[in-house]
Every structure is written in structure tokens, then in C-alpha cells.
């Protein structure tokens, strides 16, 4: 194997540029736009392996068009330097040269993507105790997508050697990735285009639910499509006759046909709950998902205390367990509800940011007046609901305290809560319990405002 040629290609082609630009733009995007959703909540890109893999995959929405455009610039080289005829006269098969240039570009692109994943991986390793290999296919398909895009760009520019080819290819690829990227606001990411077609774009949706991962059929279909794309690109890169160029289109068409047969037609079968990550890990009556098993030690003590206090206050109607909610919901949907168990969502700042005593208070609040308007890094919830929760928790613990970890200021919460608290505590004990029970029923059914019920008003 003669390494001189690939070594020269590594230095003198667009290969080093491709690697540097892909890594540079991705890092600039992740770090310069510090306020992005990839830094917040339980699905941040440094929190879980799957989230990291999917967030880096979602960056393909602009990295993939970049790879296609850079590949096309590389493919124009022979035409630009007017060497096509000279090279055609050399007694070497065309695929030798094609392999040298495509191989080096592939090497730099894969290295850049691997470095990006490694950078996320190091931070994930420090942040979570739940390790698994289920995220690997997500990143492998992503790296292969970059390679296939670049090779397709090279082949297309060889077949259509015009200065217009690189920008045209880049814009076309960009339009595809932008218009096909699913919106993450639904319970499962849903694209506007038909689901199968939208999966032909290699960019994943942005991550909002840490439990979601791409299904096996989505991986298989995308891998088939990208294999066809890479084969067509390479065949176009090395084709010398018109007939060979026409024949070169076969793999991409075959790949697309096979992929459309394999790819799921329903968004709910594209992004599926990772069963292993959603499995329950329990400490007595307190359960979290396997993904968050590292939090169990911190949650178990305060949660048991909260359950004890609730049992004393409510008697037999009290919830007996604490469990992390695993239901998928879209933005603005009502969270999962249950009267027999306290459902915890670590995306809710009130619970995620609390420790010890504060966590006990938050869990009691969540049991007596579960929030109907979800709180997360994209949803603010409402102050009135937080005030009702603080009154309910105060009724059990004997003092009124506002909650931290939300966008609602403590003073605003207290301004709403204090008058209700005063009226409630002035009542006889039996009536207090009746009001709390009525408020809890209203909150579990999400009928009216819990604060009004605590205040003695009928449910609206």
C-alpha cells in the first residue's frame, strides 16, 4: 500500500478543511449559542448517552449540507485544473484515485464527528451512572451520513463539473434537512413531511424527552439509503463513460426503494421509548427510571419521609409510592396523574433542584396538588398552581414556604398563597382536611384552579 498518495491528499485536498469545518461549526453552535435547549433539562446533550448521540445527530441538519458542499468542491478539482484527459491516460484504474480522495475525506469527517461525540461522551460519563451501548448506532449512522454526503457531492460534481454545482447541492441538501427535521414539541417528534420521506434526511430531531431513542427499523432504513448514496457517489466519481454514469444511479435508487420499504411510516415507531432506560429501579416504595438511578440515593430518604407525613395527614387515601413519571407528553399537554402514587418529573425545576427537606416539601406538594400545567425548561407553569402547592404542602408541614427552581418569584407565590393559607388555617381541622381533599380531587382531574378550591370557592 502506497501511503504517499493518501498522505498528499490529506494535506492538499479539501479533506482537512472538511474535518476542521465540521468540528468547528458544530462546536461553535454548541458552545457559542450557550442558551440553547441542548444545555438544559434532563435531556441536555451532556446528561445521558442517548441524548448526547441524538443531539449530535441533530446537528447534521447543517453539518450534512456542509459535507455535501465540501465534497462537491473537491469533486470539481480535476476539471478545474484541466487534468481529466491527462489522468484518463494513466495506466491505473480510476477507482484508485477515487478511493484516495474519498477515503481521506471520509477519514477526516469521521474523525471530526468522533471527536464531537467523544467531547460529549466525556461529559456524559461524568454526569450519569447509567451506561449502555444503545446509543452507538445513532452516532455510527450519523458519521456514515457525513461520509456518504461528501462522496455523493464528489461524484455529482464530477458528473456535472460546473461552478454552480457545489452551492446548488449544498442548498438542496440544506432544504431537505431543514424541511424534514421533525418538530420536538409533540409527544414524539413529528415531521411535517410524510414520515418515511422525512427519514431520508439524516438529521435527527432535537431532544426533549431523554427516554426516546431511534428505533432499529429507522437505523436500518437510513443505513441502506446512505449505503446506496455512498455507492452512487463513488461510482460517479470513478465513471469515465456516459453509460457508466447512468448505471451509477442504480445504487441510490435501489437504496431509496429498500429504505422506503424498511423505514417506519409512523412517528411513534420512529422515536420509541428505550425500554431498558425506562425500567424501574426501586428502593422500597420509591422508584426512578434506570436512566436516573444515580438520583435514587438522594430521593429515597426525603420521599419516604414525605410518604410518612402524607399517611399521617390523609389516612388511608394517601399515596403509597413515589415513582418517576415515564409518560411521553407534548409541550402544553397535561402531565401524567395518579391518586395512588406521587409522580415525579425531574424536568420540573421545583423537584430537580430540591434536596433533603425541600425535596420532602416538593413531593408532598406534588402529592396533594399535582401540577396540571407542566413545568420544564420550555414550559413555565403558572404561579397560582405553585401557590396552591405551597399552601397544600404547608398544611402538612405546618409552615408556608415558597418553592425555588421555577421562573416564578418567591414573592409572587407568597402574595397569592398567604391569604388562602390564612383562611385555611383559621378553619377547624375537619374542614381543613375536607378542603385539602377536595383540592386534591380537583387537581387530579385538572378541573378549575386548585387555589380557588383551597380558598373555599367551588370548582370553576
Amino acid at each position: 500500500m502506497n501511503v504517499r498518495v493518501p498522505a498528499t491528499e490529506l494535506r492538499r485536498s479539501t479533506a482537512p478543511w472538511a474535518g476542521a469545518l465540521v468540528l468547528g461549526t458544530a462546536l461553535a453552535f454548541l458552545y457559542a449559542l450557550g442558551g440553547g435547549p441542548w444545555w438544559r433539562g434532563t435531556a441536555a446533550w451532556t446528561e445521558q448517552w442517548t441524548s448526547m448521540a441524538l443531539w449530535t445527530r441533530s446537528l447534521l441538519v447543517f453539518l450534512w449540507p456542509l459535507a455535501v458542499g465540501l465534497g462537491a468542491l473537491q469533486g470539481l478539482r480535476d476539471h478545474r485544473s484541466r487534468m481529466t484527459e491527462l489522468l484518463a491516460s494513466t495506466p491505473r484504474p480510476a477507482w484508485h484515485r477515487g478511493a484516495a480522495v474519498a477515503g481521506t475525506t471520509a477519514l477526516t469527517l469521521v474523525s471530526a464527528y468522533a471527536l464531537l461525540v467523544l467531547l460529549g461522551g466525556v461529559q456524559v460519563f461524568a454526569n450519569t451512572s447509567y451506561g449502555h451501548a444503545g446509543w452507538l448506532p445513532v452516532s455510527l449512522v450519523g458519521a456514515f451520513a457525513l461520509v456518504a454526503g461528501a462522496v455523493l457531492g464528489m461524484g455529482a460534481a464530477r458528473a456535472l463539473p460546473s461552478a454552480l454545482t457545489p452551492p446548488a447541492l449544498a442548498v438542496a441538501a440544506f432544504a431537505v434537512t431543514v424541511l424534514c427535521q421533525p418538530s420536538p414539541d409533540e409527544a414524539v417528534p413529528t415531521p411535517l413531511a410524510p414520515n418515511r420521506l422525512s427519514l431520508l434526511s439524516p438529521a435527527a430531531a432535537q431532544v426533549r424527552e431523554a427516554l426516546l431513542t431511534l428505533s432499529a427499523s429507522a437505523h436500518t432504513g437510513q443505513a441502506l439509503w446512505l449505503l446506496g448514496m455512498a455507492a452512487t457517489g463513488f461510482a460517479l466519481l470513478t465513471a469515465v463513460s456516459r453509460r457508466a454514469r447512468l448505471l451509477a444511479l442504480t445504487p441510490v435508487l435501489a437504496g431509496a426503494a429498500l429504505a422506503l420499504l424498511v423505514l417506519p411510516s409512523d412517528p411513534r415507531h420512529t422515536y420509541v421509548v428505550d425500554e431498558a432506560a425506562a425500567e424501574r429501579v426501586c428502593d422500597g416504595p420509591v422508584c426512578v427510571t434506570a436512566m436516573h438511578q444515580g438520583r435514587l440515593a438522594d430521593v429515597a430518604g426525603p420521599a419516604r419521609r414525605a410518604l410518612r407525613l402524607l399517611r399521617t395527614a390523609l389516612g388511608d387515601g394517601a399515596p403509597a409510592t413515589v415513582r418517576e413519571s415515564t409518560a411521553l407528553r407534548g409541550i402544553g399537554d397535561t402531565p401524567e396523574r395518579s391518586s395512588r402514587t406521587v409522580l415525579v418529573d425531574f424536568d420540573d425545576g421545583m423537584i430537580a433542584g430540591a434536596k433533603g427537606e425541600d425535596l420532602t416539601r416538593a413531593l408532598i406538594a406534588q402529592a396533594l396538588a399535582p401540577a396540571c400545567f407542566a413545568r420544564s425548561d420550555r414550559e413555565s407553569g403558572i404561579t397560582g398552581e405553585l401557590a396552591a402547592q405551597s399552601v397544600a404542602a404547608g398544611w402538612v408541614l405546618g409552615d408556608l414556604e415558597p418553592f425555588g427552581g421555577t421562573v416564578h418569584a418567591a414573592d409572587d407565590q407568597l402574595a397569592l398563597a398567604r391569604p388562602v393559607w390564612k383562611r385555611l388555617t383559621a378553619l377547624p381541622r375537619a374542614e381543613q382536611l375536607a378542603r385539602i381533599t377536595a383540592a386534591r380531587d380537583a387537581a387530579l382531574r385538572c378541573e378549575g384552579f386548585t387555589l380557588d378550591v383551597l380558598n373555599g370557592g367551588a370548582t370553576r
Partner: protein
């Protein structure tokens, strides 16, 4: 007239004009589905950027050294070329709009067309005509994925997508158009 014909041929004008028209038609066809509301600025911006990027490949000739030996004043001709690119890109999109869905207001199209044409001209002056498209492409992809703008610097960074009438965005587009055109007119395309 003869000079113009030769100039247009050397600058790939027919091919890039076809690309400009094609991008406007493609966006018009996509908008015809009615999948996105008229408030979504992404489609018209994609069309304008695609047009500006296609036309930017013609901002350099076959032989720059030979061009420079010509006894004509290049600066006004280069400036006129950039202005024509902006005009053609805007006109194609407005014509496509007249045929179908309303995608964007006139003010929006003019602001973005002018800014993107200036950006493409700056790209030609800085990186050469062959790579001129990378500048509008890079800024477009940044603007599309940046978080929603809050504050003047963010509005300047995402000037392509903020609603028309935002002062910061209008000024950014105007400065880009003026600076890009001036740089290209005075310096010419980089080799």
C-alpha cells in the same frame, strides 16, 4: 451590447439565472402545500439565499489577470453586477409570490435580497468567486438554528429571519449590502 453578451457568458449568467428561477419556483411549489403559515420566514429566505449563492459563482471570470488588463473602469460594472444580482433574486421570488401563496412582504424580500447579495459580493472579494457562496450559506445556517433572538446583538446575528421593520436587522442588511458591494467593486474577486 456585444460586451454585455460576452460578459454574461463568461459569468455563467444563463446558468445562474436558471438556478435563481428554479429556486423561486421550488419554494413556490413547496409553499403551495400550505404546510407552513405565511408567518414562517424560512422558505422565502431559503429561496433568496439559494438565488444569491447561485449568482455569486458568476462574480469572477475565467482569467482575472486578463480582466484587469482591460482599459475599462471595472468598479461601476462590478457594483452594477451585484445590484443586478439582488434585483434578480428579489424579482424572481416576488414573481413566484404573485402567482401563488403570499410568502413574505415586499420589505422583507428587499431587505434580505439586498443583504444576501452584499454578503455574496463580500464572499467573492474575500474568498474568490468559486467559494463566495460559503459566506451566505454559513450565515443562513447560523440564523436558522440560532435560538430566538433576544436583544440587539441577537437580532443583528439573525437579521435574515426577524420580521421586517426591526431596525437592527434593517441596518445590518443595509451595511452588509453597502460594504459587500463596495468591497467587491473596489477590490474585485480574489483569485
Amino acid at each position: 451590447m456585444r460586451w454585455l453578451t460576452l460578459y454574461a457568458r463568461a459569468r455563467h449568467v444563463p446558468a445562474s439565472l436558471a438556478a435563481v428561477v428554479l429556486s423561486a419556483v421550488a419554494v413556490w411549489a413547496l409553499a403551495g402545500d400550505g404546510g407552513r403559515g405565511p408567518g414562517d420566514p424560512r422558505l422565502p429566505v431559503l429561496a433568496l439565499a439559494a438565488g444569491a449563492m447561485a449568482a455569486s459563482t458568476g462574480l469572477g471570470g475565467h482569467d482575472l489577470a486578463l480582466d484587469r488588463t482591460a482599459a475599462i473602469r471595472w468598479a461601476p460594472r462590478r457594483a452594477a453586477h451585484v445590484v443586478l444580482i439582488g434585483t434578480a433574486v428579489c424579482a424572481a421570488l416576488l414573481a413566484a409570490q404573485a402567482l401563488g401563496e403570499d410568502l413574505a412582504t415586499l420589505a422583507f424580500v428587499v431587505r434580505d435580497g439586498a443583504g444576501l447579495a452584499g454578503l455574496a459580493a463580500a464572499g467573492a472579494a474575500v474568498c474568490g468567486a468559486r467559494y463566495a457562496w460559503t459566506l451566505p450559506f454559513g450565515w443562513l445556517s447560523f440564523a436558522l438554528f440560532a435560538p430566538p433572538p433576544s436583544g440587539v446583538p441577537a437580532q443583528m446575528a439573525t437579521w435574515m429571519l426577524v420580521p421586517p421593520g426591526t431596525a437592527a436587522a434593517t441596518w445590518t442588511a443595509a451595511v452588509l449590502a453597502a460594504a459587500g458591494t463596495a468591497a467587491y467593486a473596489l477590490a474585485g474577486p480574489r483569485r
